[in-house]
């Protein structure tokens, strides 16, 4: 394969994903292209609808790049929506202004499950012997894997698997109904991008901190955590040693902190960075690294100038950490 992409000017995020030393802690924000930005709202108004925005290359590119024009973030996140996958599976998605997503079809019976459009049904026949719920999850996992592989073929340099609701499951049910299918997605992902580089895989389960021991050995490079987790303890469990194996960590400030005055935001950013501690600084090998992020998506009501304060605090304090 060949690539027409310009060379990367900032590889800090990808280096941290690979547990390589960086000059500062890279950051991006879950849902960083979104309604808290007036320029996003203007583009969405032009597009006419959310699906008009998500399915038009020019609009989607525009909103993908908007947060990077405003803040020195370390990654651009391909603009899309999780519900585009079930839409592609035949459920007919629309977004009503002020009301949120709606599907034309719903899944209530086994016959509905059988109707789900998947690219290669033959591969899936064997799971049809399992119970209804596992059937849906298997079909969904395979569709998610194909979708992420398509993104990798289109130039994505890292991918992330979210489970926003895994944390409400019971111990036991989480391992059976969430983690097993995260593993199923991971096992199917392409490992090399169109630039010839490996594609780091990030896994994030909101509320999953209690199952860190279960997630320690899954086949991915980065684990995301929400704000209930202590990054220092998580580093001890999954971060590994300098020169040894381990996972990079991503997270984990509470998005509600962005509603506090900037001075308080700075204090909380320092607390999160200090909780992880100084990442390793040895450029000759791999070791524990941290990618700063929110513990969940940014609220549409967040003042953009508060985001600027957060970004500045992450970059400056994480540089200072490395000088100690």
């Amino acid at each position: 394969m060949s690539t027409t992409f310009a060379p990367l000017t900032n590889d800090t995020f990808l280096r941290a994903c690979r547990r390589q030393a960086t000059d500062y802690t890279p950051l991006w924000l879950m849902r960083q292209a979104g309604r808290y930005l007036p320029e996003y709202k203007a583009t969405r108004a032009q597009a006419g609808s959310f699906m008009g925005l998500a399915t038009n290359v020019d609009y989607a590119t525009e909103v993908t790049l908007q947060p990077l024009e405003r803040f020195p973030l370390d990654a651009a996140i391909l603009f899309s929506d999780i519900l585009t996958v079930p839409d592609a599976m035949g459920l007919g998605l629309t977004f009503a202004e002020g009301e949120g997503p709606r599907f034309a079809q719903s899944i209530r019976t086994e016959a509905d499950v059988a109707q789900l459009a998947v690219p290669d049904m033959d591969k899936l026949r064997y799971v049809f012997d399992a119970v209804l719920m596992h059937r849906i999850l298997a079909v969904n996992a395979d569709a998610v894997a194909q979708y992420l592989n398509a993104q990798i073929d289109a130039g994505a340099q890292a991918v992330m698997v979210f489970d926003s609701w895994g944390g409400v499951l019971a111990d036991g049910a989480f391992q059976e109904f969430s983690l097993a299918y995260t593993r199923r997605v991971l096992a199917q992902l392409k490992r090399t991008g169109v630039d010839g580089q490996d594609v780091p895989r990030i896994v994030f389960t909101k509320g999953g901190g209690i199952w860190l021991e279960d997630m320690k050995d899954i086949d991915c490079e980065v684990l995301g955590l929400d704000w209930t987790a202590n990054l220092g303890k998580a580093r001890a469990i999954v971060g590994g040693q300098v020169g040894g194996p381990g996972k990079a960590l991503q997270g984990n400030i509470d998005p509600n902190v962005l509603f506090a005055p900037p001075a308080q935001i700075v204090t909380q950013v320092h607390a999160v960075l200090d909780s992880f501690g100084t990442p390793h600084t040895d450029r000759t090998t791999t070791g524990p690294t941290h990618i700063f992020n929110l513990g969940h998506g940014i609220s549409q009501f967040t003042p953009p100038e508060h985001v600027a304060a957060l970004v500045e605090a992450v970059h400056s304090h994480s540089r200072a950490q490395r000088q100690r």
Copy 2:
């Protein structure tokens, strides 16, 4: 003090709270007197309003005993509502049918905080130097402690401190804004009931399983856990050894399991009991014990016959565990 209470006919729950061996695992259900029982709804209709029910001794006693008449539960839970405390603090509580609780007063300013009615304001003056939020929490903790002490003086044989929302706090914020005030409540509680016995104290934070190490040493006898926690792992951390110190554990089945068919409820009950493992059986000393409960309150839409299946499964399987 003297007591006019009849002697206990079933001390299984209290024995388990004290880490004493029992013939089976005792159980009660959070919110066991509630809207899932038709007899509760009938009494509430007679009372005219929720506050009419909660403030009338005869009605409150009636609904307290209703679940025990229907199911062989191991504890009667004094019927009340958490919002009666802020009501007593002067906020004017009413319940609108189908709408939920409403307060006549709200707390928005420092002056509002100063207006909160607490029984002995002199004791609280020193906390008025702290920030607003800590002031509210201190006043609230002291009011909760006095309320629980009044329940102990009225004959309560065990008390429980709930933090239903502690699990949404960030690591660090939980310890500062929740756990510190749980400790403050615990420190003020009377240790002896009107029957001359010690009064076990149960602490439950929904979503608190991730902070078990932080809660290991708080001054209480029982820790409650929700369904995300693994009881076996929790037992290893806080349950202690036979003859040694430790805490009893309470929990932790997902209340949604009660919507499954009875056969599936039985399977899940077994999984929860087996997750804890067999409690200790040495009648000469203390050791690890388990009190079965839901991981949160029972839903108003739960079929009562499903509760019967759960209660039967807990008692029979936990007896079988002890025969192994």
